[in-house]
Symmetry: D2
Amino acid sequence: MDFSYTPKVEALRAELTRFFDQYIYPNEAAYLQEIQRNRDTGNAWIPTAVIEQLKPRARELGLWNLFLPRSPRAPEGLSNLEYAPLCEIMGRVTWASEVFNCSAPDTGNMETIERYGTEAQKDRWLEPLLAGEIRSAFLMTEPAVASSDATNIQCSIRRDGDEYVINGRKWFASGAGDPRCALYIVMGKTDPDAASHQQQSMVLVPAESKGIEVLRPLSVFGYDDAPHGHMEIELRDVRVPVSNLLLGEGRGFEIAQGRLGPGRIHHCMRIIGAAERALELLCQRVQTRVAFGKRIADHSIWHERIADSRCMIEQARLLTLKAASMMDTVGNKVARAEIAMIKVVAPSMACQILDWAIQAHGGAGVSQDFPLASLYAGIRTLRLADGPDEVHRATIAKLELARHTIRTTA
Amino acid sequence: MDFSYTPKVEALRAELTRFFDQYIYPNEAAYLQEIQRNRDTGNAWIPTAVIEQLKPRARELGLWNLFLPRSPRAPEGLSNLEYAPLCEIMGRVTWASEVFNCSAPDTGNMETIERYGTEAQKDRWLEPLLAGEIRSAFLMTEPAVASSDATNIQCSIRRDGDEYVINGRKWFASGAGDPRCALYIVMGKTDPDAASHQQQSMVLVPAESKGIEVLRPLSVFGYDDAPHGHMEIELRDVRVPVSNLLLGEGRGFEIAQGRLGPGRIHHCMRIIGAAERALELLCQRVQTRVAFGKRIADHSIWHERIADSRCMIEQARLLTLKAASMMDTVGNKVARAEIAMIKVVAPSMACQILDWAIQAHGGAGVSQDFPLASLYAGIRTLRLADGPDEVHRATIAKLELARHTIRTTA
Amino acid sequence: MDFSYTPKVEALRAELTRFFDQYIYPNEAAYLQEIQRNRDTGNAWIPTAVIEQLKPRARELGLWNLFLPRSPRAPEGLSNLEYAPLCEIMGRVTWASEVFNCSAPDTGNMETIERYGTEAQKDRWLEPLLAGEIRSAFLMTEPAVASSDATNIQCSIRRDGDEYVINGRKWFASGAGDPRCALYIVMGKTDPDAASHQQQSMVLVPAESKGIEVLRPLSVFGYDDAPHGHMEIELRDVRVPVSNLLLGEGRGFEIAQGRLGPGRIHHCMRIIGAAERALELLCQRVQTRVAFGKRIADHSIWHERIADSRCMIEQARLLTLKAASMMDTVGNKVARAEIAMIKVVAPSMACQILDWAIQAHGGAGVSQDFPLASLYAGIRTLRLADGPDEVHRATIAKLELARHTIRTTA
Amino acid sequence: MDFSYTPKVEALRAELTRFFDQYIYPNEAAYLQEIQRNRDTGNAWIPTAVIEQLKPRARELGLWNLFLPRSPRAPEGLSNLEYAPLCEIMGRVTWASEVFNCSAPDTGNMETIERYGTEAQKDRWLEPLLAGEIRSAFLMTEPAVASSDATNIQCSIRRDGDEYVINGRKWFASGAGDPRCALYIVMGKTDPDAASHQQQSMVLVPAESKGIEVLRPLSVFGYDDAPHGHMEIELRDVRVPVSNLLLGEGRGFEIAQGRLGPGRIHHCMRIIGAAERALELLCQRVQTRVAFGKRIADHSIWHERIADSRCMIEQARLLTLKAASMMDTVGNKVARAEIAMIKVVAPSMACQILDWAIQAHGGAGVSQDFPLASLYAGIRTLRLADGPDEVHRATIAKLELARHTIRTTA
């Protein structure tokens, strides 16, 4: 468990930080303005020039696909521990990850195909995803059931000859608002009579398939996050060839477990960056405003909040690094308690710090002039997405209780 | 301190509850849809048919201007204690108060004019406000300074002959997005050299005055709250007759103190209704969803949250009633500790319950399908608006410390 | 729900406050010293002169048995609502209640006998208790089972002719350390085969009965609370006449419900007084100490804590008064949610304020020089005693969930 | 920053764990009983046989003075990072550290003399301390001033020829209750007119010096922690030779800074062990008790608390290891933010987990039957001792604010 950053990682951090200073921070307002212009002229659901123009630069500098574990198709891949500090930087600006082709849910989808897909599936979908030519969505959550318990999922994937026929309604399909979104990974039931964790399968569904209707974008605290979007999607008799199945029938749960670990830790890494950003903005704000005869920074109530923020960030980062290191060395399964822990810890930590930062900014804090409220909305949602806090806490507790059944010292 | 509801209040509560059941709840989705339609067709900044069509019904039933204390122009007015349980019901739906001409900031503005205005000012502005013919905004907060300390305010109100000339930039002028908004009450400095609390004055400024530019709507989390809106407004050499001054030069602070008490308690009353709504939705949700083999309502973690919610609501309501009762009987000045207390207690209480309710709803909780996220955004902002928590806590602490300077028992 | 204090109550409050100023506060150190002297000379388990000498004065001034509801044997009794502000004052000093014959568990025991006892039982036990001649204990909790679920209780009360034979082990029998403790009210099972809430009965057991062994005092944090004490007691074949049964066989649960309501609210009233005391001490301390160039009272972190303390106390008091009022008017059963609420709210509220007060006092706060640590220990225990928080929260949640099963507004 | 345990440390951990299983846990009850017997027979202020009999075994096994950094007099010393996991184990039982000669305040005192003492001072005091032949106390805190601000300290150290004359009152001198306590390190002012951080000096004062009066033990919650004790001590014209000065006149502050870093981190290491113990006891308890039809371990509210406990412990441990590693590599001064962070984080973390564990145990939790309440009392005090939370938070905030003064990204 050596958390020091290697020279390779340090070099990438420096490069990435330079990139943020030169291209990302200076474009934060421009990005919002471009989307507002698109919205005003009738369609916010198109890619932004701001991001598209930065991608070639990022790629040129080697800041591309950093998330991907070393593999035949990503020979320069990084370990989770190496990626963590880089992903953290990306999390400082909500839209920045896409510039580096490191944004969710594409990263999780790429990793899924890389790990569980056939070579043909990789040729067809992984390559254009790695090249940033298409985007993708992950269709798991359903509006009609408590999807926190994945066995509740009802979407039907019925085999009919050489095809699967899919029927179901999914929502919060993030990224499905983007016109370039060409692929859905769909979780559904191939065998409702099997054992409860073997009923599910995952299939690759082209977004252009017949029978698919993108019903509407869902908002997250007022934000529709166009052009990315969180969509509600109806699938009616959607047909795909059986070769689109991932891994095997009844193995959807297994893939979900494998997929969600990395997805979760990437979220947590980004969240830590967001928390750092919030604390930075907070500290700057309280030093530049005066109330009741002194700088707000000189009121001790803010010392309390700043100190607690720093303590919380440091701890969450260390725990994330530990989880990343374990995923690299002992695997996602052995590291499941640690993954669950950071998934519980990081979003709540960041929400608290963001809340303090908002409070420090007054009205400006909830407005579009600072990234605080939108970061809050996105991160608050991560206490629900990829498993709500309650489910992760139950996992941690179960493992902990199991450690204390025999030995009695009292 | 008798908090029982009188028969008059009970009758109004029953009437109002019927109104909500018949007209408000069934229109919640329609209201959002109408605004979305307006937005899609190019202008969300117009009054909604949903609200406008309900106003005559409300007025007919005597559910109109309930907020206004008994006065010559409101002979049927209610006391704060009587209004509290009615206002609470209105708070269950974000847009409902306007149906009854009881929405902020108009209520505070009407009360200000009623209390501090001349008869001519009342004829000109109070009457159309009471009739619901125009709307109004309150221009206090400025983007360039920590407005939590009102002595920081920089907007200049300079006398020039029979006119005042106003220059300044204000923001978070709620309601100024509405095309019917005809009046701004503006706080500024008439004498920057006077004692720090006598530099400020308030003037009535017609929204159509030359030199006024509404720059943009500010968003609250992702909501722009059209058509109401929270606007940033530039005033450049705006001229109004000196007769538009409220109360007297240098008395702006005094008015602010008088105005904000009722404004704050109305917010708190509504917040309690919002918290009740959140708890109701939470309880319904957890009883209708199943996860891991039992209803979510049967997981004891939710008992904890439901019980704490109920305890918090009951306590906050009682404290609000106490503050209301004191305002009625001993006046806003003597009740200032209690007003500060509910201003601190109610928003945080409701934010916590809303957060739990969101968690109980999963993704639906942050979306437009439930009122939870938008209530959260609005109420979170009330930890900043009308004085941030920190300022109210300082007020309470100062009064408390003063009680314990002499007697020593330990 | 009129919470104003009546003139009668105001007069008693004034009298009681005078008594505290004259006799209680000035004796706080003397009380601890007397017990220390007793301990040093070999026996801390004897009544203190400090308390015994004050009792006649209290009785003379009419400050005696104030807790008892109006009844044939207490014609001057007070309602719960009237008693609340008096009980609150008594809670400011841990040992003060006994001076007024208003201390737990005697008050609960007296109320139990008054309500459920026969005239003979009242003559035999209630009269000397009302006169302060004897003391009593309540034997319910058992070390071997989770007594939070009263159906777990295992103490056996077996009928044998005209006698009941009692076998069991009880602990945390508060007050049983006092040599004057002459009566135990014992909860046990008369019929282990009956329905789960009809297996239990309560019997009056003279402390001097054969077969009783007081095993040891339990400490609460480091306090043994001598001479009152919290004792572990073994009952081996203890025999009492069947006429010592309270109310009837199988009605123990019913009595427990009836008894615990008043007992709980008395605790909460006292707790509010303790919280007021803590806040008073905190405010005094921070105004008399200087650190880093200014009074601790001028560091805004303390404004935060003082303000939150005041908000919490006000709210808890109002909720306690509401519960008291409901117990007086609609009965303990209808008021059970409110009783559960204050039982959850008050101890946690006071523990938080005491914790802040301790922090404000530095090392002195945890020491014997201030009453803070001992109040903390006693009140922390009340999150367990008379039903742990978790059980009361479950009660509140159950009632709340039941309110939201039909109507759906979303 | 490699936090893996080296083979040397792993071997010591295994040895220490075995020692605890064989000798410490089985003696927990015996230790309390021995002190109770001593108390009952008139003197609790004598060393316990339990500890004294274990010391030779510990020493024999090489489990002795593990705390001491490698130095000429401790050639086998460990680094902070190496010591951390060992110290953590010792923290599982309040009295265990002394068995290994690793208990506060002796460890801090030894480290102080080792670092700042002359060879003569080391011969005279360090050797017998390392041998466990004498004990020592640290006299810093004073009852009359806010000692959190060390510049407030008033104890006078006046030079008179070849002697210093010391006058002052100190309290919470932990360990001074032990009859073997032979040495006091006293902080006082040699020059009240110097710059505020150069007024203080430290001198070595033999406990047997004339003019010293140990006034009384202070209790911590109800514990007097005999025979260790927290004493109030009066020094009247106490004379020591000038050669007893540590480091130099006016350098007391400098020593305090140097001394408190290691002292603080040792406390935090132990606290983590205490938290682990609490969580272990909690998990065992909830699996062995049944309430309302199921094991308490199956109520999800306990999953929440167990999971949060595990998350908090993991994070606090990692932060402690980081601080330890930095102390080893970049020094206490550079690591001062990290030391302050763990000092804020660890005690509050453990108090919360202990509070939950107490709650899980019911009445047993606050009693002498489990170590929970006494651990709570001791650790709660560490939110005050060695600098209260507020002071450490101010340190962290100051450093954080300084990082964000120049760069502005928003």
